[in-house]
């Protein structure tokens, strides 16, 4: 057991303690308050299980739970059915424009899914463009509201969660394993079913569970498309906002249910699947499979169709934002009115989005990078706990975290509600897992002996970290910050609970416009969001690969 007096160990200890302290205050404490809330009666005076009884016994909430799980199951199934063949095609066939495709498939991970939902609404909703057109042609179009639309949006925006690990898994199979299969007499087809596919199943399931978690936590898509169908994350929000009692007990119950579901799924994913990754130590990936020209064309078309369909809504939104709207109805014709309306009233939402995201990105990096460093370079009980706690926020829905933060900080010693700080805190906590895992994966590629050489030459550990390690990691850190900035700009679920007055962001504007008549303004806001997302991404496009790696 190393002496704690050693400078290196002290450094790691310091990071560990500070990191855990921050996480306890701004993450674990709010969560505990939610648990408390669920067990206290509405007056907040005594413990009771009545809240659970009320919620779980209510048909409405039972329906909400059932709906959420049903949608999750469907979406997960469809993403797998979509992503696995796509992964196989990209890994083993010479698809036309493959490198462009590989760059595009990562985009749905960072583009806001509720924008996609909103676009679907505009195109295929009751008053949608395409619906109207089809009706004029005499073709009745079913309703996209409720499960179908939500599942469709989830499938098209979440499939990269399954695609990317599966693709990585397929590339990591050493060619000799597939050759051995053929040598022993199995045809290529048989080899695929008996060897290749089973080897990537853990990666597929791993990604599928992440999809399931995301569907449970997501707020933006159901708020756009669910209409009357009760969904857990939306109902939790509604309960909290509508709560008049001293203690938000009902919202607390739903919050707990959400946390428990996602945490359970995440645990399963971590324990049973992340470990069972079949490492074959690939030295050479299997070569591309030669297939007939017609089949190759068909496969290429199919791949491009999938990828373009998932990006089409965003494209549509940008185009629509330049058209005239009257209330919620599209008038057609080029116009910049929407942007004028949006920014004319106040440029504040745009400024807030840019500023709060930027702040969150910097702070998440400042906290996440040292934590990533500590858990990669120093294995100890403390760093193990730190790693677990730092990645826990992944299992907590934004809505729930927002509720917890409000309960914790609207009175007492630290009052943060009503300001911008509480929003930034929520963003930082939500993005911390990404920041930590991304810096950990960068560090894995930097040999520890470099730092040891520096220390050996007389430079203290903290200085070595600052002068040597951070510069080496800088490219990755900046890329990570840009990605954080970009994804926080489109954050909705926590923002909508935590914002107040002058601190509206673009996503809030969109959210408000959904209810009201300002479809044009909403579309302009959405379009701005897409641009804010894509432009910086173009600059760090190569670093998107790191994003994939840290997700998996």
């Amino acid at each position: 057991m190393m002496s704690v007096a050693l400078p290196r160990q002290r450094f790691a200890l310091l990071i560990g303690i500070v990191g855990l302290a921050l996480l306890c205050l701004f993450f674990l404490f709010p969560l505990s308050r939610i648990f408390d809330a669920s067990f206290l009666d509405p007056k907040g005076t005594h413990l009771t299980l009545a809240n659970y009884g009320k919620i779980l016994g209510s048909g409405f909430y039972q329906q909400a739970i059932a709906n959420s799980f049903e949608i999750g199951a469907f979406a997960t199934l469809l993403t797998v059915l979509l992503a696995v063949p796509l992964a196989f095609a990209l890994a083993r066939l010479s698809i036309a424009g493959k490198s462009a495709l590989l760059a595009l498939v990562v985009l749905p991970l960072v583009l806001p899914s509720f924008v996609s939902a909103y676009a679907l609404l505009l195109m295929l909703g009751r008053a949608g463009l395409a619906t109207q057109a089809l009706r004029d042609l005499g073709i009745p179009f079913g309703s996209i509201y409720g499960t179908p639309g939500i599942v469709a949006v989830y499938t098209l925006t979440l499939y990269p969660y399954v695609l990317l690990p599966t693709l990585a898994g397929l590339k990591a199979i050493d060619v000799s394993v597939e050759e051995a299969s053929r040598n022993l007499g199995a045809s290529r087809w048989r080899g695929f079913w008996t060897v290749t596919l089973p080897i990537v199943v853990p990666s597929v399931l791993s990604g599928a569970l992440l999809v399931f978690i995301e569907t449970l936590e997501n707020f933006g898509v159901p708020i756009v498309l669910a209409e009357d169908k009760p969904i857990l994350s939306v109902e939790a929000f509604k309960l909290f906002v509508g709560e008049t009692d001293q203690n938000p007990s009902s919202a607390g119950v739903l919050g707990v249910l959400l946390i428990v579901s996602t945490a359970l799924v995440l645990l399963i994913q971590r324990h049973y699947l992340a470990r069972r990754r079949f490492a074959t130590g690939a030295r050479r990936s299997p070569p591309l499979i030669p297939i007939g020209r017609a089949s190759l064309v068909a496969a290429s078309v199919a791949c491009w169709a999938v990828v373009l369909s998932s990006l089409l809504p965003f494209f549509a939104v940008v185009v629509l934002s330049f058209m005239k709207f009257r209330g919620p109805v599209l008038q057609g014709g080029f116009s910049l009115d929407n942007f004028a309306d949006l920014l004319g009233r106040s440029a504040r939402p745009l400024e807030n989005t840019l500023m709060l995201s930027g702040l969150a990105a910097v702070i998440a990096a400042l906290i996440g990078v040292p934590i990533g460093y500590a858990i990669t370079r120093f294995r100890s009980t403390l760093t193990n706990i730190l790693e677990i706690v730092a990645t826990m926020p992944f299992a907590v829905a934004g809505t729930v975290l927002g509720i917890g933060l409000i309960i914790s900080f609207n009175s007492g010693a630290l009052v943060l509600t009503g300001g911008w700080l509480i929003m930034v805190i929520a963003y930082v906590v939500r993005k911390l897992p990404f920041s930590v895992r991304s810096s950990a994966s960068i560090l894995h590629q930097i040999d520890p002996s470099l730092e040891e050489a520096s220390i050996n030459l007389g430079v203290a550990p903290v200085m070595t970290f600052a002068r040597l390690t951070v510069p080496l990691m800088l490219g990755g850190i900046i890329g990570g910050m840009v990605l954080t900035w970009v994804t926080v700009s489109s954050e909705l679920s926590a923002t909508v609970v935590l914002y107040s007055g002058e601190w509206q962001t673009l996503t809030v504007v969109m959210f408000q416009a959904l209810e009201g008549t300002g479809a044009g303004t909403a579309v302009a806001a959405a379009s701005l969001l897409v641009v804010i997302t894509l432009v910086p991404l173009a600059f760090v496009y190569r670093l998107l690969r790191r994003y994939e790696a840290s997700l998996l």
């Binding site: 050493d174 000799s176 394993v177 050759e179 051995a180 299969s181 053929r182 040598n183 022993l184 007499g185 199995a186 045809s187 290529r188 048989r190 008996t194 060897v195 089973p198 080897i199 199943v201 079949f278 490492a279 074959t280 130590g281 030295r283």
Partner: protein, 353 residues
């Protein structure tokens, strides 16, 4: 079981001729080794027989049957890969059963043949384990069992031991050889390790830049190398250049004269020869050379004590190095710079054309 014929086989990768007009017949039941440095074409040749590399020209036949036109999974060869290529998603017994299942053999027969194969490689108790639970040596045995259980026409081994540690390598090569002899199966073995090749082969083909330098039994390759390349590749040797001496049975190297078997070439012709270090016996004190042996004088440069063997580095009068090796002689009295005489049987000298 059949003999294997390669006929006029050629293959280029871009401008590089990986396999250059190779023709060869391997007898039924023979353990044939392709030996050479990296890039010599030995692995390409093996993969051609397996069906994982295409032939540009030529044919490959098992007996009378032409097989180079068959796809890999219908050639009935059993290949053992360098990195074992064990299927990580299947248990040991399922790995071994894989080829049998592909041949649609019935379950009871599969069970019996798998059990037998695992007993053959001494892994019977491990049949229910997962690959990640086994060591490298054990995985290699599973790979061997898996290739043998399908009773292939020929066993193909692609540097199967290079990922194992030294001691295990020596142990496993003996076991592979024994298995091959017991089953009487034809085997083609690829390696870059000349000691391995010498130890277990019936015949060795030394390859270089896509061609055969020499094919022969181990002792012939070692004792009568046909080219300087082969002489240097197999163990260590002294490769010396000189001119034919006056009596037609000597070669002058600098100021030193070496006695060699009778030469046809006229006096003065430039010529090279190989003399193995272990053929040079150090004569201590005033020891006399055995009958018929010649003597060469040199100056000791250094001694390398390797336990069973001592390597001697000496310099000839004109400065060129002469390496010798001997067992168990009390040479520690010598120091650098001391004069040292070596005796050798001229018959051990290999002269090159």
């Amino acid at each position: 079981m059949a003999n294997i014929t390669l006929d006029g086989v050629n293959r280029s990768f871009g401008s590089v001729r990986a396999v250059h007009d190779i023709s060869l017949t391997i007898a039924d039941g023979e353990f044939f080794t392709l030996l050479g440095p990296s890039g010599c074409g030995k692995t390409t040749l093996l993969r051609m027989v397996a069906g994982f590399a295409e032939l540009e020209t030529g044919e490959i036949r098992f007996g009378e049957r032409r097989i180079d036109t068959l796809p890999a999974h219908r050639r009935n060869t059993g290949m053992v890969f360098q990195n074992y290529a064990i299927f990580p998603n299947l248990k040991v017994s399922d790995n071994v059963a894989y080829g049998l299942r592909a041949r649609k053999i019935g379950a009871p027969e599969i069970a019996e043949r798998v059990a037998r194969a695992l007993r053959l490689v001494k892994l019977a108790e491990h049949n229910d384990r997962w690959p990640h639970q086994l060591s490298g040596g054990q995985l290699q045995r599973v790979a061997i069992a898996r290739a043998l259980v399908i009773e292939p026409e020929v066993l193909l081994l692609d540097e199967p031991l290079s990922n194992l540690d030294a001691k295990l390598r020596v142990e496993m090569r003996g076991e592979i050889r024994q298995l091959q002899q017991t089953l009487g199966i034809t085997a083609i073995y690829v390696t870059h390790d000349q000691e391995e090749a010498l130890a277990i082969s019936d015949r060795i083909a030394v390859m270089r830049a896509g061609r055969f330098e020499q094919i022969g039994a181990p002792e012939e390759i070692y004792r009568r190398p046909s080219t300087p390349f082969v002489a240097e590749f197999m163990g260590t040797t002294n490769l010396l250049q000189g001119n034919v001496g006056s009596n037609g049975a000597s070669i002058k190297v600098g100021g030193t004269e070496f006695a060699v078997p009778r030469l046809e070439a006229p006096e003065g012709t430039a010529i090279s020869f190989s003399l193995r270090p272990e053929a040079l016996r150090p004569l201590l004190d005033n020891e006399a050379a055995p009958d018929g042996w010649a003597i060469v004088s040199a100056k000791l440069a250094r001694l390398e004590f390797l336990g069973a063997l001592t390597r001697i580095e000496a310099n000839l009068s004109h400065g060129a190095p002469l390496r010798a090796a001997w067992l168990d002689l009390p040479l520690h009295r010598l120091k650098a710079g001391d004069p040292l005489r070596f005796a050798y049987d001229p018959g051990r000298v290999t002269v090159f054309a």
